[in-house]
């Protein structure tokens, strides 16, 4: 191919050292989910993955002459988000505003919107199956620089405090909003694995799963009584220099 002859000499040097460079872009599909779903969740009524963009750059260091085994490290700027509507029964909730706390058990509908803008640093081991296929497995750490987690409850009823408390019905356009954005964790980490298929000499199609291993909320935050883990499938393209 003509492109191979245009390669700058610095890249040729890198190749001699067993280094390759890659830039990539894609979208994240997935959500933050409790695992397993707690008994309070009776039905997931709707789920929207939202348009979560991702861009990144990687360095690959091949460990052997045959370029079979390698290590890939890089950085990734991405959004993880979702929007869900669920039906819950006897679901613990607590809203704090101006130092006043309203807590109770909610039965009815809950809408949730989660969005986290993160800078992630993945390090994975790489195995080249053949000329067209790579697979990888590794871990990532991420710093979330912008977080939101909010929503509202509607069409249901609250039992004040506990299931024996006063019953307050919300219907028609009556709803109560909540915002737990300040309680989201800044540092996240998890595992990732995936594969790349070289569609053209320089162009690959990538698919990777990132599986968060710590709760998206700070451990001191107890209102959401179960842990939620971000699990995303990233699909995108890479360009190898």
């Amino acid at each position: 191919m003509a492109a191979q002859t245009d390669r700058p000499s610095s890249i040729d040097k890198s190749i001699a050292l067993g280094l390759e460079y890659e830039v990539n872009a894609g979208i994240n599909l997935g959500g933050a989910s409790p695992l397993p779903l707690p008994v309070e969740i009776r039905e997931i009524n709707s789920y929207m993955p939202l348009l979560n963009m991702q861009i990144g750059a990687n360095v690959i260091k091949w460990l052997d002459r045959e370029h079979k085994w390698g290590i890939k490290a890089g950085l990734r700027l991405e959004v993880k988000g979702m929007e869900t509507k669920a039906t819950v029964k006897n679901y613990g909730m607590e809203i704090i505003q101006n130092d006043k706390k309203l807590s109770g058990k909610w039965t009815g509908h809950v809408q949730t919107r989660y969005s986290s803008q993160q800078l992630a640093f993945p390090v994975v081991g790489l195995y080249r199956i053949n000329k067209r296929w790579d697979i990888n497995f590794g871990a990532y750490v991420a710093y979330a620089f912008k977080n939101s987690f909010d929503g509202y409850v509607y069409d249901g009823y609250l039992r004040e405090g506990n299931p024996t408390g006063n019953k307050v019905t919300f219907e028609d356009d009556a709803q109560a909003t909540y915002d737990f954005g300040d309680n989201l964790r800044r540092f996240q980490w998890g595992l990732q694995c995936g594969g790349a298929w070289k569609a053209l000499n320089r162009l690959s199609v990538n698919a990777n799963i990132t599986w968060g291993l710590n709760d998206i909320f700070e451990s001191s935050f107890k209102t959401v009584s179960f842990n939620m883990y971000p699990i995303y499938l990233n699909i995108g393209f890479g360009y190898i220099f």
Partner: protein, 379 residues
């Protein structure tokens, strides 16, 4: 390996751990309905979160009643539904939830027609502990039957239980309705229009007027249908002629009008808040056993027989204790049927509010109404 394989693999993984679990047994333990055999009830029983009042017909022998309860599915009640008990005094029942984790003790009492007092001095309150860790006053008045010495307790209703939802750990004097020692004689009731803060705004109820009334505050409707949450009236077997008492009123500084469509409070320059004190005598029919915020003063409400209400000028600022004596003004063509009267088909309510438009969430925060020594004079 194609991308579709990855998606398939991911969905299998996620669904493997994300199955909807089997529904848990119910945690609630409510009395949903109460019935008495033989058509003994005069009107629907009043069921509150931990109190049931059965209003029975005059002939009913209340020392032998066997109420039947319908509960939250799966819940149990002790003593069981249909147990014969003596309701000369209130009886307690314990309802336990289906999951066995929760139980609630109900006080079940019987009310005969016309147990209400005719004079109220607001000396007695019960302190209600809220589940949020605070407390508020609930006014009550006890009547003792001269012959049987049977004591009946009437609880005044107010919007305090609704305000409690957002009032955290605060005490009685932070509520819209509470007892104060600044009475005309002894203690009295103090009503203050309060802001409900960001929460109240969130559910389109930005202010709470202090209110006190004879009837029931229905928490279940407090957010979704606030006008229906104030249920006015209790059976009354005499014909009222005058409603009198003492009051003091100081309007708050800034009158604000709640714009429902814009969802915001708008200041109305120059407008002064007004209080409201009135009593309504009305017929309870099957389709309208009680009045509520949407119809208690409606000119075209066919059930209303007579109204005694502060005049326009009396509803203004009144810094010193002022006496009022209001005649019950009978509406044209309304007559009293003596049989209905004797059988408890008429009702009476007394309503007091620190902001006359408080039911529509308009008024001035800080408006303060004190009321004491009120009396209904009958024919």
């Amino acid at each position: 390996m194609k991308i579709s394989h990855w998606i398939l693999a991911l969905s299998i993984m996620i669904s493997a751990v994300s199955c909807i679990q089997k529904e848990a047994p119910n945690a609630e333990c409510d009395i949903l309905t109460v019935t008495l055999p033989d058509d003994d009830l005069n009107r629907s029983p009043i069921i509150e979160n931990d109190r049931v009042t059965m209003i029975v017909k005059n002939h009913v022998n209340i020392s032998e009643l066997a109420p039947e309860f319908q509960l939250t599915p799966g819940a149990t009640i002790a003593p069981p539904s249909g147990t014969m008990r003596d309701f000369t005094y209130p009886q307690t029942y314990v309802v336990t939830s289906e999951d066995g984790e929760w139980n609630k003790t109900y006080t079940v009492s019987v009310q005969r027609n016309n147990i209400i007092n005719l004079k109220y001095s607001f000396e007695d309150v019960k302190t209600v502990q809220t589940l949020q860790g605070g407390s508020y006053d609930e006014f009550l008045s006890v009547t003792e039957d001269e012959q049987t010495h049977r004591r009946d307790t009437m609880f005044w209703a107010s919007g305090n239980p609704g305000f409690a939802l957002t009032n955290g750990k605060n005490g009685p004097s932070t509520y819209p309705t509470f007892q104060t020692s600044d009475g005309k004689v002894g203690n009295c009731v103090e009503l203050i229009t309060r802001s409900t803060g960001p929460w109240g705004l969130m559910v389109s109820k930005p202010i709470a007027a202090g209110n006190l009334f004879i009837g029931k505050f229905d928490m279940n409707n407090a957010v979704a249908k606030p006008l229906q949450a104030t249920r006015f009236g209790t059976p009354f077997t005499s014909v009222p002629r005058y409603f009198s008492g003492y009051y003091r009123y100081t309007p708050g500084e800034t009158y604000q009008n709640w714009n429902e469509s814009a969802k915001k409070l708008e200041t109305v320059p120059g407008k002064l808040d007004e209080c409201n004190i009135y009593s309504v005598f009305f017929e309870s029919t099957d389709d309208m056993e009680y009045l509520d915020g949407s119809n208690v003063l409606s000119p075209d409400n066919p059930n209303i027989i007579a109204v005694a209400r502060l005049s326009d000028s009396q509803r203004q600022a009144t810094p010193d204790w002022t006496h009022f004596q209001l005649p019950f003004v009978f509406r044209p063509g309304k007559e009293i049927d003596p049989d209905k009267l004797a059988n408890g088909h008429y009702s009476l309510t007394i309503v007091m509010s620190s902001s006359a438009d408080g039911d529509f969430f308009s008024g001035a925060v800080g408006s303060m109404l004190l009321v004491d020594e009120i009396e209904i004079t009958c024919q």
